[in-house]
Each structure stands twice: as structure tokens, then as C-alpha cells.
Symmetry: C2
Subunit: 453 residues, 2 copies
Amino acid sequence: MDQHKFILSESEMPKAWYNIAADLPFEMPPVLHPGTQQPITPDDLAPLFPMAIIEQEVSTERFIPIPEAVQEIYRIWRPSPLVRAYRLEKAIGTRSKIYFKNESVSPAGSHKPNTAVAQAYYNAKEGVKKLTTETGAGQWGSALALACNFFGLECLVFMVRVSFDGKPYRKSMIESWGARIFASPSKETACGREILARDPECSGSLGIAISEAVEVAVADEKTKYSLGSVLNHVMLHQTVIGEEAQQQMKLAGDYPDIVIGCVGGGSNFAGISFPFIKDKFAGKKLQAIAVEPTACPSLTKGLYAYDYGDTGKLTPLVAMYTLGHNFIPSRIHAGGLRYHGASPLVSRLVKEGFIEARSYQQTEVFQAAVTFARSEGIIPAPETAHAIRATIDEAKKADEEGVSKTILFNFSGHGHFDMSAYDAYFSKRLEDNHFSDTALQKNLAEIADLPKV
Amino acid sequence: MDQHKFILSESEMPKAWYNIAADLPFEMPPVLHPGTQQPITPDDLAPLFPMAIIEQEVSTERFIPIPEAVQEIYRIWRPSPLVRAYRLEKAIGTRSKIYFKNESVSPAGSHKPNTAVAQAYYNAKEGVKKLTTETGAGQWGSALALACNFFGLECLVFMVRVSFDGKPYRKSMIESWGARIFASPSKETACGREILARDPECSGSLGIAISEAVEVAVADEKTKYSLGSVLNHVMLHQTVIGEEAQQQMKLAGDYPDIVIGCVGGGSNFAGISFPFIKDKFAGKKLQAIAVEPTACPSLTKGLYAYDYGDTGKLTPLVAMYTLGHNFIPSRIHAGGLRYHGASPLVSRLVKEGFIEARSYQQTEVFQAAVTFARSEGIIPAPETAHAIRATIDEAKKADEEGVSKTILFNFSGHGHFDMSAYDAYFSKRLEDNHFSDTALQKNLAEIADLPKV
């Protein structure tokens, strides 16, 4: 019988993260101070992040060692399995080969602990006592709660209200690891109170939740902020996924024609794809596909421009694909993909043609989720299901073209805390999104005065 | 750094289940027909089970081959990891070594698919079209839904009402795999309607849910019944856990002094312990500890006697530790342990002194669950937490005695669908149980007229 899972031993786990900044065939635009609009200095970021993280954010070293204490936590679930999805292939009747990297095996249920553990470690090492953060679907908040618990840090999570209400058990999970959690916008911060005054029913957004977490962090010297996606150091920490996948594809005697991941901020996609894009820079043929919801189409409908990372304009200005920092996406179930911007690295790689982007409506995404659950057994998170949708479509396209492709996608997380979304899908209460181009133009007009890339 | 997980390759997965019936140093009492009270024949069981399962129920072959089609499904998550719990050891400050077998990695989140897949396979092979079953906490219902999905069988699940109401997302999970689910007692069956007429607020029990599932199964030739615990063939299928654990303990260069599992019907405990009890029969020193809730103390307060497996008296009479088939345990959160009886094999091994039994209150169990979640990261199911409580206590006892023991417990399932129980614990709404000996005596009096063992 054919082998199903390709497993590495703990001793084969990567000892260093891959830093794509070392190999980019183009210059990245500088990050700008939100006040002066001049390139930021490490000192500007010091109130938010520990120095080790700031150094990683700007590093051009190709490989950055993974500290032993971080590796030790990784070993709870890493190396994660690479799985040949024979049953999915059969279910959709494709001649293509489908592999997925199963990041849902972490205690928090997603890839997010890969960076949460690293960030908690560096903060603890530099004497920080408390971390604040935002969370959309709850995957990131759970991951940071878990990581802070391991390093004895307090943890404060602002969870986008629409997800907080829809996923009560994320709250209990986060509390199980000893963290505190608030629905955002909250009354805990000036920024939250201001938004609630304008719109008491505000369903929240990642942009707002980031503003709240940043506001709390800058107010206290021993408190810092932790971001679960977007920034360079987060992409860096996630490359352990792709590094392992490269070893495992070798075990399988294969190499992907296509690498696929969903994109909210971009970290799980970067994690699996960057080590392969390294090969692409070196001449290897590869298609990298970033998948986002039509309800929040930063990469497919956004503008490549300088913008704030948050709604409250507290973060630096970064050059990225953005829908405008005031853009609030509709209430789709893939809460982790409801971000107005995207990783500067992923954005620029899209702009330069190294990555393709596409978007899907949520009903077609849930259809793919159920196809996967009923063939491979595992119930995917709604975010992950975007990658599955694109994988199925790419396999079918190859069949139509009469070719067989090798497709690798990142199974970024399980859906155990998203079952109300499945309920909505089965009871036909799930609606597709009517994206408003008018609203988009209005939001983009608001960033017209910011510096040009 | 020391190795954390001990992983077997797919090719090292056991090819046969271990049947403890081959090695018992005593005779098992016959199973009796509920009507005639005479030993049952295979024909008596044929309306409920396929012939292959009936044969396994009475087989005395030491090893029974695992069909290739079952192995193929097992490989989705098997072999499961054996983990050295360094962080738990450190958290409780013990000198003992703690290992756990992580059965929570199956798509359904517990050990239950080990038998669900086998049962679905044998039923499908014999032309059955639909399976009915009961579920307490939801772990078993999820597992059978998953398994039926793989073999193209319809699946109907009766879920104990107290769990159905407290765990709405189990329903969605079961539906994700294409099964149908009802809260039990339900209006779907005569038995359910009768109980609801007496007590419209009845919180249900495994005994009632079994009656409902059996009633539906016997009414149609192409429909059969599937039980997730108690019976010999279920214990058999679960031995894949202990067989793997034996190989993995060898990899770790260790052998357990103590093997621990929680007991509702007994299957996860039997699964991990029977292959080790085989060694014990052969003279090896070993302590096997079965852990149950004080709210439903079959092994510690029950009578070893013939009793029905269900409340409706539809099942055969088996010799086991029982609290009486009308016993309805209080509404504790470990729904999977709310069964009035226990596996005849486990019961008899307790009676003969090969297994020890003990019981715990739920607050001390949740305390252990949180200690585990905050040290090892993974959030345990309330059932599993019973085994963790006993593990911690055994380690502390060894410390007090100035010795170091090697303890292996079965991490039978994760708690992702039990977070409302954690919520209750954190908000101090969780109450200990006041077990009524008077009620017990009343229930036991009701079985006084049944045949004696």
C-alpha cells in the first residue's frame, strides 16, 4: 500500500528559519514612521517589539538560527506531517497529485504557534512581562496564549467582535492557557471607546483590534505588542513549514508544480511558499498561488501603496496591497482573512509576478471544505478551505488540459472552533458577498495623501 | 535535547489486533439472551451485528488480522504518537517518568475511530446500508459518522440530551461527515417516547440512547447497530493502541510500572492496557489502573452481576460491574463516562485482581486537566482528564515513597468540543457530585431477580 504520511524525526526539524529578504531580486520600500513619514529606526519600534524581533524585521541574513528553547516547544507538534491526499484526489477524480502540510496538529490548532512561540521567547528573554495582541478567527489569540503560558508571560487578547460572538469556545481555550480576552472594539481602550461611540454595533475588524492592542502596549514599558501576521519576522518564523515540506517532498520523491495557501495577513502562505520561491529565484519552475476571500480582496482588488496596518493609524506605514485602513469587510466566516492589507513581502512578490493571487466566495469555499472533510476526514478551518478550493480547481484545470500536476497546499488549521460556520452552510444560511467597489474607492481615496511607493 | 515524541512509521503499524480472550487465566461467564436467559447464539445477535463482528465477539484466537481496508483508514492518523511528558513531570515536580499515548490525533479527536472504522468496514462488507448508535459526550458518534462516511453507510446517532445541549458543535461535526443526529430520549422511538412521557425533562443516559439505537436497528434488515464500547470486539479493535505503545516504549528504552486509562464502557483503557496485561499474565510486574467518575462508579461501587446493557432491556444480559440498568448518573461533564455498566472483560479483570479501579470527583479532575493543558499544551477531554488525575497522583505517591515509577496513560481525546465544561470550571460553576447510595441500592434491587453469575 502507498505511504500516506511523510514524517520527519525530531532531529530532522529545521535548525534555522529561512529569510527571503536575503534573496529578493528587488529592493523593498522602507517602512515609514506614521508621524514623520520618514523611514523608521529601530528605536521607533522599541516600544512595541523586543530588539531581537526588530533586528529580524530588517535582517538580510539568509538563515536565522531557531533558539533551542523555541525548538523545544516546537517539538510538541513539529515536524508536522506532510500528507498525500489520495482520498481527495479520488473524490474529485483528478490525475494530479495533491499533498498537504498539516499545520492543524499544533495544540492551538493552526500554524500560528510557529511565530507565537518565537515571539514569546524573545520578549521573555528581554524582560517583557505582558504581551497584547489582536485576533480575528481566534487562531492567533489561542496561539499567543499558548506561547505566553510556556514562557510565563501575561497575555491580553482583543478578539474581533463578530468572531468573539460566533466562536465562544475560542474564549474558553484562550482562558485555558491563562490569558485574558476582550471583544473588540472594547471599552478597554480610547480607540475602542471612540469607535463604539460612533457605532455601538460595530462588528470589528483586525485593523481596529490591532489599534487597541497597540494602544495598551505603548502605555507600559514592560508590556509589548505581538502581531500574528503581516510583518517580516512573522513570515520568517513560519518558513519552518516550507523547510520541512521541502524535506518531506523529497521523501515522497516529488516536487510541487504549484504551492497554494490562503492569505489574510499572509503568514501561512509565506511559511509554506517562501522556501520554494527561493528555488524559483534560482530558476526552478513553480506556481505560487495566494488565495483570499472576495469579501476582503486585498491582493486582487487592493492598491499597492503605503498604508497604515491598523484603523487607528498607530502603526508604521508599509508598502503593501491595501483596501484602505478604514475598510471593514463583511461578516464572513473566515475571520482570519478579514484584513485590509497584506504582508509587504507577499504583496511585493505578487506585484513582481512571483506569486499569483485569486479570490473566492464563501459558499464555494465551504463546498470544498466539505469535500475535504468527507474524503480526508479532517475538518478544515474556513480560512484553510480557501486553499483547498484553489487546489481542487487547479487539479481540475490540469485534468482539462490533459496534464498531471503536483500540488502542495498548506492545511493551516482545523475547524473545530468554526463549527457554527458549518452549521450555517448546511442550513443554507451562508451568503455570498457583494463586494462594494464604491466603498473600496472611498476607502482608497482616504490614503491618497500618504507617501507614494 | 531529549526526544519528545516516539513515532512509528506507517509500515510499523500493527497488522493484527490482540485478543485477550486467548490468554485469560479464567473462564468468562456466558452472555445470556434477554428473553430466555439462556446463553445466546450467533443467530440471536444477527439482527444487531454483522457475522464477522459476532465471530470476533466470541473468538479465542490470540491475534486477529486487521483488514487492509481498515489499515488504510487507520493510516490517516495512525500510528499515533507516544509522548514523554517532560513538561508535566516538571510542572508537578515528580521524579517519575510520565508517558502518554496521544489518541486525540484522529480526525474525530479520540481513540473511538479505531473500532468505528473496523465496524463500518465489516457491516459494509456484509451488505448493511445503515448503522445506528448512541453517543454520550459525542466522541463515539463523531467517530462512527466519520467511519460510515468512508464506507458509504448511512449513520444515525442518538446523543444523550445533556451532552447534545451542552455541546452543539458535536452535532455540526457529525453532520459534516454526513450523519444524522437526535437528542436522546427522542420522539423517534417507542422507548424514547415512553421515557419522555414519564419525564419530559429527562437528561438522558447512555443506557437510554442504546435502547433507542437498538430499537431502530432491529426494525430493518439492512440496518444494524454499532456499539462504541463495552463489547469484546470493541476492546479487541482498540488494542492497536497498546500494541503500538509497546513498540514505542521499546523505542524509548522503557517499560511501564503503571498503565492508566479512564473507564466509561472501558474501551480506551482496554486498548492501551490489554497488550500489557498479556505480559502480566506471563509474570511481568505491572499495575493497571482504571479511573472512573465518582458520579458513575460502576467498578468501584457497582455489583459484579448479570445485567442489561441498556435501560430498555433490549440487549443481552452480560456479567459485569453494574449500577443497575436504570441508574441515571448526575450531569457531569465527562459524558463519555456516564454508563451504568462496564466491559465484561474489564469487569472480570478487576474482579480477579488484574486491574485496580478508582474514582474521582470532577473538580479535582478539571484541576488536573488545566495542569496538563498549561504544561503539555494540549487541552484534554474531561474523560481523559480522569486518567491524568490518577497519573499525577501516582507520580506524587511514588515521590512520597522515595521511588521513581514509569507511568503510561492513554490520552484518549482532546477537549475542543468540551470547552463549555472548562468555562464552568473557570467560573467556579462546576460542582462535585453527591453520590446517593440509597438510589444505588434501589437500582441494584431491580436486578436481584436476574440470573446469578
